[in-house]
């Protein structure tokens, strides 16, 4: 599904990703953990096509298609979805209008008939219910005045509506209480399927109690330094990232 090879990327001439490789097969859930400043959020932004992030080398393919030359909207239409760590507030544009524009654009690019306003409303209502957001939120400005938890749930709502192939969740658990965390996790779990993959970026093991990953990777200083099964997350929770500075490990990594 997603093949990232030796990806190098920088922001304002500062190298952030330094040869990151990652291979996610259809249906798999991968978690990326790592200390602050390792480049976790950058990975999400680079893959989704945010401006200001320049790719210096390597490749990234989604379903065999090179995505690095695509505009952000083309990547979205190709099936990539990024749940933002800090979703953006857009006053004056209603949530429903935003969902409709996104669905219309994606379906147009995919050559599928657009959904009717009634169909979209019906889907949106069901999605609201699933992420425990009142239906009135559809009429409000996108994320306008939403609490932190509401914003995160709104990201999941968009994911439910857009049905992407690859979902990147950028710290979707940060700032959430236990109930909201469960809502987010349930949203993700309900979407797990053999033809959809997830990349979950998180600081904490907690989210992974609810969303069981198939693989866990440690990202440090711009590359994956260790990969393993779900047990790796527990190990990190226990030991922290101090071992990264360990010289023995450096050697192994070289």
């Amino acid at each position: 599904m997603l093949k990232v090879k030796d990806l190098h990327a920088s922001v304002e001439d500062k190298a952030i990703l330094k040869g990151l490789s990652l291979n996610i097969k259809a249906g798999e859930v991968h978690a990326i953990m790592g200390p602050n400043g390792a480049g976790k959020s950058t990975l999400g932004y680079v893959l989704s096509g945010r401006e200001g992030y320049s790719v210096e080398g390597g490749s990234a393919e989604l379903d065999g298609k090179d995505i690095l030359d695509m505009e952000a909207d083309e990547r979205a239409c190709a099936g990539l979805f990024l749940a933002f760590q800090y979703p953006v507030e857009i006053p004056g544009v209603s949530n429903l209008e935003f969902l409709k524009a996104s669905l219309d654009a994606q379906r147009k690019m995919q050559g599928v008939e657009p959904l009717t306003a009634t169909e979209i409303l019906k889907m949106a209502r069901a999605a609201c219910k699933q992420v425990h957001l009142p239906i009135e939120f559809l009429k409000r400005g996108v994320n306008e005045g939403f609490s932190g938890g509401e914003k995160k749930r709104n990201e999941i709502l968009q994911m439910l509506m857009l049905q992407p192939k690859l979902c990147i969740l950028d710290e979707s658990d940060s700032g959430l209480d236990i109930d909201a965390l469960q809502v987010v996790a349930e949203g993700v779990n309900s979407q797990r399927s053999p033809d959809r993959s997830f990349l979950i970026v998180t600081h904490y093991q907690r989210l992974l109690d609810y969303i069981k990953p198939d693989f866990v990777h440690v990202l440090a200083d711009g590359k994956i330094v260790k990969s393993g099964g779900p047990e790796l997350a527990l190990e990190l929770e226990e030991n922290g990232y101090g071992w990264l500075n360990n010289s023995a490990y450096e050697g192994q990594n070289a």
């Binding site: 505009e71 952000a72 909207d73 979205a76 933002f84 857009i90 004056g92 544009v93 654009a105």
Partner: protein
């Protein structure tokens, strides 16, 4: 005065048939005009709005303007002026009870008696192009709503201008005590032309006016005009201005709180592109206590366009307990676009609550990226964000049929405006 004006005054006498009852007013205005200096770049009120293009304009061959499109479902009473002349053919509906529409030239003695008193008295005395219009207007209507009457059909005054046309038209509106009505002023045209549309509104005690001015002249169609309101005790005004720019577009709005417990809301949206110019001067006079004003002005400027906003709220010494808010927000879509904004508060009363502010910002890149990350392409995302910037004001329009009519036109406008 300018040569441009002299030439017109010399010609003006031919077209005032049936309006001799206004001759004294015209004469007064002419004298004021002769005393006034023609604006230059040093004239504060015209600093950013040069009149060069006007001076170069000469009335050419006048074509025939098309029949004005009805607005679906609005059921409005349309008063159409074609190249400055009232087109009686296009007024086909029967007027509801309590509403009368009289052409200036056809006014009977009773109408003349009150109209002569109010005519040219609601707009400020030294309003330059108001004076020009006083002297030059060739046609006009008096719209009178009887006391206590509610007119459900909006009255729409449309100015249509064909290439080379010059039009000076006049509208005088009176809402009797407790009356309610909606009036729409609309200027259309895209070829080289010039109009000075001046509308004066007398809103009597407890009356409510819903007002719109759609300044839709674009390209080389020039327009310099104004709408002026006088609110008597407990009168209410809810006004919305929507403008596109052109070579020269200027509107002066004056709201005079002439009684106590008055309420005025004025929302304005203007969207400029290319090398267009739009200048809005809004003046609010609180001459009496307990009045309230809310003004929201939003402007989006693309390419090399230039916007001017001057918003003045003047609270007189005895006007205690006034609440006034003025907010001006501008969105610049290009590095070459220009906005000159000047909110002014002048307060002489000591127990009032006033706020004013102006902001200028560029398109929010983060919001653009967010929309794009969901599949919306950049140009569509820009249209959505532009719309988002003014949507609130469109939603606030009391007549939602009109808002629905407006939305696609705004969308069309946004899709032409490039972000650079």
């Amino acid at each position: 005065m300018s040569a441009w004006l002299e030439a017109r005054i010399a010609r003006a006498d031919d077209n005032t048939t049936g309006q001799s009852w206004l001759a004294a007013k015209r004469q007064e205005s002419l004298e004021l005009l002769r005393e006034s200096a023609w604006p230059t770049r040093k004239t504060e009120a015209w600093k950013y709005t040069p009149l060069r293009s006007l001076q170069g304009f000469s009335c050419g061959a006048v074509g025939t303007a098309a029949v004005v499109d009805k607005i679906d479902d609005l059921n409005s009473i349309d008063l159409v002026f074609v190249d400055g002349n009232f087109d009686t053919e296009q007024l086909s509906v029967e007027l509801p009870e309590g509403l009368s529409v009289t052409r200036l030239a056809d006014a009977d003695r009773a109408t003349q008696a009150w109209a002569a008193k109010r005519f040219a008295c609601i707009k400020p005395e030294r309003h330059l192009f108001g004076l020009v219009n006083d002297v030059l207007f060739s046609d006009g209507v008096i719209i009178d709503v009887a006391a206590g009457c509610t007119i459900h059909q909006p009255v729409r005054v449309v100015q249509q201008l064909s290439e080379g046309a010059e039009a000076h038209t006049r509208v005088l509106v009176r809402l009797g005590e407790g009356a309610k009505a909606a009036v729409i002023e609309q200027c259309d045209g895209n070829s080289e032309s010039f109009n000075t549309l001046v509308a004066e509104y007398q809103i009597s005690a407890k009356a409510e006016l819903e007002h719109y001015r759609f300044a839709f002249q674009v390209d080389k169609a020039m327009s310099v005009g104004g709408c002026h309101f006088d609110l008597a005790e407990r009168a209410q005004l809810n006004s919305t201005l929507v403008g596109f720019g052109s070579t020269l577009s200027r509107v002066d709005v004056d709201i005079h709180h002439g009684g106590e417990h008055t309420f005025a809301k004025f929302n304005a949206i203007y969207l400029l592109d290319g090398r267009e110019l739009f200048d809005l001067h809004a003046t609010v006079e609180h001459a009496n206590p307990n009045g309230r004003t809310i003004e929201n002005i939003r402007c989006i400027i693309a390419d090399h366009a230039k916007a001017v906003f001057n918003g003045r709220i003047h609270i007189h010494r005895d006007a205690q307990k006034v609440l006034a808010e003025l907010n001006n927000r501008n969105l610049l879509l290009s590095d070459h676009a220009e906005i000159n904004t000047k909110p002014e508060l002048e307060i002489y009363a000591d127990d009032v609550k006033c706020a004013h502010g102006a902001t200028i910002a560029a398109m929010d890149e983060q919001a653009l990226y967010y929309l794009q990350s969901r599949g919306v392409d950049r140009s569509k995302a820009q249209v959505m964000l532009s719309f988002g910037f003014i949507n609130e004001l469109v939603d606030q329009m009391p007549n939602q049929i009109l808002a629905e009519w407006l939305r696609p036109q705004l969308r069309q406008r946004f899709s032409q405006m490039e972000v650079s």
